[in-house]
Amino acid sequence: MNSVRDRSESISTYIDRAVKAPQQQLRQSRLGHHAALDELRKVWDECRVANWDGYDALPVSQGTYEAAYRLIDSLPLGFPSPAIGAEPDGDVTLEWRKSRTRTLSVSVSANGYLHYAGLFGLGQRYGTLSHFADAPEELIRLVQDL
């Protein structure tokens, strides 16, 4: 019985590795968002102390960093990568910008909400989305509408 169980485990490990390895390679390629994740790390390093903006800004917490990491990592492969920033209430910002009049900023916090505001040519849109794990479809559509 042990040899049957051992054999099934080694098969599942093989399949798991065989499927995940190409996914990992894709995520590390130009289609992935590792550059944005690197930028996120730099922002967190700089903004994890209080008053990082000179105007009493709150520090970016580890929970916020992790929420932003998960969101960026869940963006579809080949999707435009955001520029990373931070706001004085400790939220991380993700910004997609095509031009001066086509820009979207999304605030990520640890509480599972995404607050966004954007200019879409002559129009404006703003609101709040829920975010638990993967990037919400509405966020994907907002970026595509830029």
């Binding site: 903006d53 000179g54 209430d89 001066r100 605030s107 505001a117 709040t128």
Partner: protein, 132 residues
């Protein structure tokens, strides 16, 4: 800078500055300013410095003072007309401080965050980044 005891009310045609201490609050590629730089917090007000009656040297001295408070680099300032705030149904009121008599606050921000971001986005679009 203004003299103590003689600080006039803010007028709509004035220019105000927001000092940039965080490198990611502006875009070096085109010297534009991000909305992040104009988000009000921790109080629902935004700290500004009025250009009126201030020389460039005095303005930069104030920027250096703000940067020195946290041992940070002063990258520049975001200059914008008071009218940009008024057009967003905000108010800019004089709030002189002992260390900065030209200090003012943009107030009447909505409490809802995405609404704050929308106003900050439009104001930032009209701001001009000036290198230190």
């Amino acid at each position: 800078m203004f003299d103590n005891g003689a600080v006039p009310e803010v007028e709509s045609n004035e220019r105000v500055a927001r000092f940039i201490i965080f490198s990611r609050h502006y875009r070096p590629s085109d010297k534009s300013v991000k909305p992040d730089a104009f988000m009000p917090h921790p109080r629902v007000e935004l700290s500004l410095t009025r250009h009126r009656e201030a020389t460039m040297a005095e303005l930069w001295r104030e920027g250096e003072r703000v940067a020195a408070l946290r041992g940070a680099i002063l990258y520049g300032r975001a200059d914008v007309n008071v009218e940009a705030f008024l057009n967003q149904q905000l108010s800019v009121i004089a709030n002189p401080l002992p260390e900065n008599l030209n200090h003012a606050d943009a107030v009447l921000w909505p409490t809802e965050k995405s609404a704050q971001k929308m106003k900050a986005t439009i104001i930032a679009q009209q701001a001009e980044f000036v290198d230190f």
